[in-house]
Symmetry: C2
Amino acid sequence: MKSNEYIKGTIKTIVLKLLSENKKMYGYEINQRVKELSAGEIELTYGALYPILYKLESESLLTTQSEIVDGRVRKYYSLTPQGNEIAIEKIAELGRFVDTLKAVLAPAPSTNFSL
Amino acid sequence: MKSNEYIKGTIKTIVLKLLSENKKMYGYEINQRVKELSAGEIELTYGALYPILYKLESESLLTTQSEIVDGRVRKYYSLTPQGNEIAIEKIAELGRFVDTLKAVLAPAPSTNFSL
DNA sequence: TTATATATTTAAGAAAATTATATATATAAG
DNA sequence: CTTATATATATAATTTTCTTAAATATATAA
C-alpha cells in the first residue's frame, strides 16, 4: 500500500478517534501513532494533517494548548465535549461504512452451474 | 450514512470489482448494483461515475460497446485483460486497506488499572 | 559539521468528488 | 393528454481534499 490512495476522507475520523482515547496529543505524535497502529501502512502527510487540525479547532471540536518541550513549541490538541460527541458518531459511521464496503467487495456468490 | 463521506477514493475499485464479475455492465446498472449490494447505503453520483468510466477506458482498462435497448442508447463497459489484472490488484489492495483501517479504529486496549 | 529526528506552518497545484444542468425515451398515473 | 417517475448518458462549474514542496527551528548522534 503506502500509496494511501484510499485514505481520502478518513483522516479526520482517524484523528478524532485517537484524540478520543488520549487527553491530549500533538500533530507529530498523531502521525506516529497512526503509523504504529497501521503497522507502517498508513502515513499521514503533514500538509493534510495540520489543516485538518486547524479546521477541527475552528469548528470548536478541538482546543489547543501550546507547551515548550525541549526548547521547542509543541501544540497539544484536545477534544471539546462537542468534539467528543462528534468523534463517537464519526467512528461508528466509519465502522459501518467499512462493513458496507466489505459487503460490496465480497466475491459474488458462485452460481454453481457446471458445464 | 448516505452522506457518502467515506466513499472517496474507493469508487474506481468498486467499479472494477463489479466489472470483474460481469462480462459487461452499463453505468446506470453499476450504480444500481452498488446500491443493492450496500443495502442502499452507497449511492454513486453520476457526475463521479461516468468520468471514472471514461478515464478507465482511456487507460485501456475498459472497452465499450453501445447497444440500442428500448430505443435508447446503452453503453456497455467490459474489462480488458489488462483491466482484469488491475482489478484483481486493486480489490486486494482495498481489502487490505480496510483491514488496516479497522485496526486503527479498534478501541485501544484498556489499561486495566483500577484506582 | 552533517545528517537525522523532532515539530509546525503554509502556499501552490492536482486530483477527486459534488452539484447542477442538459438531453432523451418509456411508462404509469391522473 | 399531461405530468411524474424511471431509465440512461454527458459534462461543466465549483468545491473539497490531498499531495508536494518549501520554510523555519531545535536536539542529538555520527
